[in-house]
Amino acid sequence: MKNLIALIPLLPFIGFLINGLFRKSLPKGVAGFIGSGTVLASFVISLTIFLQGTYSATPLQYFTFISAGSLQIPFAFQVDQLTTLFLLIITGVGFLIHVYSTAYMHEERQDHFARYFAYLNLFVFSMLLLVMGANFVIMFIGWEGVGLCSYLLIGYWFENVDYTKAAKKAFVMNRIGDLGFLLAVFWIIAKLGTVSYNEVFTAANLAKLTATDITGITLLLFLGATGKSAQIPLYTWLPDAMAGPTPVSALIHAATMVTAGIYMIARSNALFSMAATTNTIIAIIGAATALLAATIALRQNDIKKVLAYSTVSQLGYMFLALGTGAYVAAVFHVMTHAFFKALLFLGSGSVIHAVSGQQDIRYMGGLRKALPVTYLTFFIGCLAIAGIPPLSGFFSKDAILLNAFVYDKFLYAIGLITAGLTAFYMFRLLFITFNGSFRGTEEQRHHLHESPIAMTLPLIVLAILSVVGGFVGVPELFVQGGEKLTAFLSPVIKPADGLHVEHSTEWILIALTTGIAVAAILIAFFRYRTYKEEQPSAIGRLFENKWYVDELYNSAIVKPLNALGAFANTFIERSGIDALVNGVGKLVNYGGRQMRWLQSGQIGSYVLLMVVSMVVFFVLQFFLRK
């Protein structure tokens, strides 16, 4: 079993090595087969573990990774219920996206094609390390690995300068968060001398930490999560990350990598449940991010940008859940979100594929007839994310909102508004893209076609999952013996016992959420059934320009830093260090020129100099001896 578990991350890594090393000679079919096949194999192993139920709370140690004094960091995996759930999401959704990519990327050059799959496999490997690691250090390896792969894949079309800039932005923003994570790990090591989960989270060890320690560690960990999971204030990289190929956006920037922060906090729930201050901050930031991103998504015209802001908004939801202590609800939403957001992204990829690379929804429209499968699956995805019962999004969102309601009424109100906005902007996207008449060029109209089976099949599978995925977490309200997910995760996440809500209240909340979603969909329908240019209002312009956050960061951080760099360049580098180094050279040069007359070539003068200096030495010695 232990070796089988080691194979889960190892297989994608082997795939990465093969695709990466032999990318020049591998035909596209083989590269795609290796890329998808290794992930499928990992999925099968994960499924085996899930079906057999062979979880281990104790880590499986492979070798000692770091040994420094009393600090022992083993290279160990811990495959418990939480990890298994993530394994299934990563490898399952990952496999579908790999298959989709074989068709989506088929126009790429052969070696670029293999490079793409190499990166994708490396990403899956890193992500698996992240969720399988039995201590914070292994998690950190994966944490950095996924950041690297995200950078590589955003900048996959590296000939485009804007894309490489987007990649750089994502990397730098992630680094800021990573620093927080790293400091938190150092703090844990300094206080407890261990990083293994099952040692850190024991009651005896947690009792050793003072309130300051817990608040500090959790806040730093949360800073790491804001970077990776795109929360205020580090969320601006995610919309720019849409520069990468669409399947990458689906896999990394929607389904898996960005949920790493949620996984990390859910994994450390023992720590976070003791930090009330941090939880409040997490809940507020989550709610604020959810609302802010949702408002921005209202007025975006790039199909992928809408989905990107929607992702940020949904991640905000998950953090709201984490902050309110509803770890299971957050993980539940990670799962359902992985299904429907991957579906929506892949659907948008199918649309972009059909209209020859166009991403602006103003030049689409009427695609319903040309792309029936894409339309239907996209429609299901929109229903799921809008929270229409009984699709998956409804259950997870309901669980989050219920917890928020119990935690704080104001945060609940924000969540509710965001739910309405989500339904509105998703259906705005749907109607503008698929309804009305086609607004692109004649050439594009001629080219319109449904995508190949390798692309539609993942869409269909994900659509089915988006419909039924929510049933694992049906609340007790509907079914006797519901909350299967809570029971499943109970060994890792202790079920909260304080949540007592009247059934009538629950019914009212559900009716409210659903009512708002339906109303938002109807408004979107009447407004965008037939698309027409509209003059944006003042607030609309604010949304369209993303609240000017990018501009704010630019003038508040990037420009001063650039100015500082320019200052360092001119004053420290040029006139300081350069002047010093050049000065030494010039001095030697000048001295050499002045000494040149000594080397006259006249033997007489040499001898004279010798004699004179000897006499001088004698005289000096004579006087100095006294």
Binding site: G601, G604, L608
Partner: protein
């Protein structure tokens, strides 16, 4: 004989040598002056060696012998130097028809 005589004699010889090297331009004369300086030193070494030997008395029969040894070394080296130096001077004369020492500074160019 007191040691002073030897010292003054070798000092005089050495000074003559230096002045010769500094003032004369004929290579052969310069060469001879160098020999003169070497021999002034030899004379001084022998004189001091003798002085030490006498001062040590019968108790130490080998006292001051190093000075005399040095003299032999210097003579051997001087002989070798003379043979090489004279060969250079011969070649110099064959090529330039001159033994003027300042003529050699053209190596600089």
């Amino acid at each position: 004989m007191p040691i002073n005589y030897y010292i003054f004699l070798s000092l005089a010889l050495f000074t003559i040598g230096i002045i010769g090297v500094l003032t004369r331009r004929n290579v052969i004369i310069v060469f001879m002056c160098i020999e003169l300086m070497l021999n002034a030193v030899n004379l001084l070494l022998v004189a001091f060696s003798k002085m030490h030997h006498l001062a040590a008395g019968a108790a130490n029969s080998t006292a001051g012998i190093e000075g005399q040894l040095f003299v032999f070394f210097i003579m051997v080296v001087a002989a070798a130097e003379v043979s090489v130096g004279l060969a250079i001077i011969v070649m110099l004369y064959r090529n330039t028809r001159s033994v003027d020492i300042n003529f050699l500074n053209r190596l600089k160019h």
